[in-house]
């Protein structure tokens, strides 16, 4: 186990796991309390169009994914708040349109698309140093913006209408929050892939929400859980020689089920004690 840590790809994988945990813990908490799970799923899948465009035009697919994720975040946010189309509909349409564009771009690209599978399902063992640096920069941007707009993000998550009455620019802040979700998804694509990303955004925060009494403590707990899941998943996938992204998700899902059951049992016990 210890000698494994000498390999650079293992070091990179551990760093990628920890950096993913920070983004998914902080932004995932907003996603869970403000019920933005499906719009986050939509942004993640729409980013596949950018991956395809990267293959077609020969630039880094992650750059393409970031552009498409940010673009679709702004479009979905605007369409769902400012037009008669429901959020549900606009999310569904962009979700599939982004995927469709990606498929067309890839089929137009000459030759074979290497690593395509790892963009879809993640491969934390192949994350290059350059992507680690990008993930670190994105994490810093996310933390900085959340720190600056802490009061406003909390307010629009708890009661958007009340914030609007108090002259908080709720629509712009909502778009900013969606853009942070888009950036989080870009950070997580390397670890768990586009298809599985939504689970890592929601599960650590969902478990944390069962115990946390404040948004801040929820975020800290979610980051710790996220780090535990990515590192445990990484280790298991290495030992058992199975896909890392999927292993991370399965570990998270199992812990979520166990914690939900424990919370339920605790409630029952308290109830019967009180009675």
């Amino acid at each position: 186990m210890i000698e494994l840590l000498q390999y650079q790809f293992i070091q990179n994988a551990i760093l990628a796991g920890l950096l993913s945990a920070v983004a998914c813990g902080v932004i995932g908490s907003f996603v869970v309390v403000k019920r933005m799970v499906s719009i986050s799923g939509g942004i993640a899948h729409a980013s596949f169009g950018g991956i395809g465009l990267g293959y077609l035009l020969g630039f880094n697919p992650i750059t393409g994914a970031m552009t498409f994720a940010l673009g679709s975040a702004v479009i979905m946010g605007t369409v769902s708040k400012k037009t008669k189309l429901s959020a549900d509909t606009s999310i569904g349409v962009l979700w599939a349109t982004g995927m469709a564009l990606g498929v067309i771009f890839i089929s137009l690209a000459p030759g074979y698309a290497p690593d395509l599978f790892s963009y879809l399902f993640g491969n934390i063992l192949t994350v290059p140093r350059s992507d680690i640096i990008m993930m670190l920069i994105i994490d810093i941007i996310i933390l900085l913006i959340v720190f600056i707009f802490w009061k406003e993000f909390t307010a629009i998550s708890f009661d958007e209408e009340f914030a609007r009455i108090n002259k908080v620019p709720t629509f712009l802040l909502y778009l900013l929050l969606l853009c942070l979700i888009a950036l989080t998804i870009v950070v997580l694509i390397r670890a768990v892939g586009i298809v599985l990303v939504i689970a890592l955004v929601t599960i650590p925060a969902a478990i944390a929400s069962q115990f946390a009494k404040s948004l801040k403590s929820m975020m800290i707990l979610a980051v710790v859980l996220g780090a535990f899941f990515t590192l445990t998943g990484l280790w298991l996938s290495y030992e058992l020689d199975i896909a890392s992204g999927a292993t991370i998700i399965i570990v998270s899902a199992v812990v979520l089920m166990v914690s939900t059951a424990l919370v339920k049992i605790r409630e029952k016990l308290q109830h019967s004690n009180a009675a």
């Binding site: 009061k151 909390t154 708890f158 009661d159 009340f162 009455i165 002259k167 009494k213 948004l215």
Partner: protein
Amino acid sequence: METIVKLENIWVRYHNVTALESVDLEVRETDFVGIIGPNGGGKSTLLKVILGLVQPSQGKVTIMGAASGKNVGKVGYVPQYSSFDRNFPISVEDVVLMGRLNHAGLVRRYSKQDYQAVATALKEVGLLDHKNRHISELSGGQQQRVLVARALTSQPKLLLLDEPMANVDSAMQKEFYELLSRLNEQMAIIMVSHDISAVSTYVKQIACLNRKLYYHGSSKITAEDLETVYQCPVELIAHGVPHRVLKDHPSC
């Protein structure tokens, strides 16, 4: 007596549906107006017009002499109970702090003054010793009082309450009305409810709303008004005294 809110010939249309039709209302500084009417009758829309959240298609809203939206903080809003998630990870104090969002300003942290305003408001509603509790640990009635405290932090001249009794159990309702009565000494109050019986003796004026507003500036209401509003025969619970709602109800 100073006029706090004046609505003149307000019309609100959503797409092709008329939600409010030619509504006139004047509320003065010591008024306590209960607005009753069926669900979908435009009660929430009326509050949103006063708050500046809904722009009327026609008509004029004046709040303390200025156009609506210009007097942020002068109107305190207590939304419907369902407007927030009871399991949201947040303390009582942090909820009430949100009443100071406009005062604190964008990006800035809450100041000492903001925390003092929160303490004063929590004391007013009798929940100062609960300030560090998580909101889910409070009863429905206490949660409702937290929302009142949030509205009070900006020292409003008018308090708007949307269905405030929906989640307050009957034993606590009297206490809640007494709180409103006390607040009414410092500010005007408009309370809307779909439940006629919820409008108690504490209310000074009663209006009926079903697209149109029927308002006589007193707490007396006629059976004809109610029948027009609810579009079905209504029996007044007045124990033999005609044209009164609950006025002579024995102390409940």
